[in-house]
Structure formats: structure tokens, C-alpha cells
Homo-oligomer: 118 residues x 2
Amino acid sequence: MTQTAINMGDKLAAFNDLWSPKIIAGFNGHDVMVVKVKGEFNWHSHPDTDDLFFVLAGRLTIQMRDGDVVLGPGEMYVVPKGVEHCPRADEETHLIIIEPAGTPNTGDPETAVTKTKI
Amino acid sequence: MTQTAINMGDKLAAFNDLWSPKIIAGFNGHDVMVVKVKGEFNWHSHPDTDDLFFVLAGRLTIQMRDGDVVLGPGEMYVVPKGVEHCPRADEETHLIIIEPAGTPNTGDPETAVTKTKI
């Protein structure tokens, strides 16, 4: 047990790679992660889990088949499990995301990145 | 499915009562909530769940039996399940907290407040 506050600014200062989530805490079998994104990801869905996005800085468009949601700082959206989505950020954007530990970020273990702890 | 960003500022503007979590989203069987706190809560623990705190504004001291953690804006802490804690805020403090749906905020259904959706 680490009795230290987890500071988002410190964590974000520790890396610069894009679309590569970093684990900052564990919570009930989930990974709490920060990630920097810019550009467009791919269309995917997670059959077994909702996908929580919280914007710390920048602007994130979560494209979905029946409409987009645009998030600025201090805004959150939960993509329900099974719903196809494609995140896009026209500027560099910093997010908190929460997914069950081991969830492939692309929805497919073949193409997923490894999530590292920082 | 609501295709609308969940804005923390808007949600926090919608209520003023203290220590009364408001549900703003669902995520994998959990309630994502905002809450305003000031003063000291009570010592309690949750035997079956971790307790995630994220500070939006103000300053939260999470007192634990083997030491305190102090959180400012943009800082997070996860109290592991079973660990006794007593949150305290010397000024009004605004938080995001995440707990499984139905978790009593005091650790005891007898004394817990009802969490309402906003």
C-alpha cells in the first residue's frame, strides 16, 4: 500500500508516447490509467467492459456509429460495453481511462499495446 | 445511452448538500459519483471494495491508521478494501468517487446516505 497521493501532473510529465496507456493505480480489478493521445485511433469495441474516459487537458471526440461525444477538460463519458467507438483528438489530449486489468486497448489482443505501470 | 458529455462543473452546480454523493454515471456495476465534503466523516472501511477518491477542487485528507494522505486538485488515491479510513476536509472540497453500485458510504447500511442520480 502506497500512502502517497497520485498526482496527474507528475504522472503525465513522466512520458510522452501517444496512445500508450500508463497504469497509475489499481481499483477493484481495474487499471486506472493516464494516456496522451493525438490523431485518430481505430474503430473497436469491448464486448465485456464499459470504457470510461475523463479528459484532463485538450479535447477528445469519441466517435460512435450513432453520434459523437466531444469532451473537454473536466468532462467524462462512459462508452457502454459492446458499443463501437473511435476516439479522435485534433490536438494533444490527456485522459484518465479505466478498464478491467488486461483489457486490450484496441479490443483485440493481437493489436493491443502493453500497458505499463508508472 | 446518453450521448452527452458529463461535465463536472455542471454536476457540481446542481447541488450543495455535503457528504451526499450524487451518481453521474454507471461503469461496470459501479457508480461514478461527485460529492461535496467539508469537515470530518467517520472512521469506516468497506470489506468488499476499494474506494477511489479524485479531488476536483479543495483539499482532502484521508486519515488512515498508519498514516494520512493529503490530496489536492488533480490528485487521486485508492483506499484498498478493508482499510479503515476517515476522510477530512478543512475547506469545502469537491470529489469524484467510484464505488460498486449499492455500497454504503459509511461502510454500514444502517447509517449510509441514499445516493441519488443527477
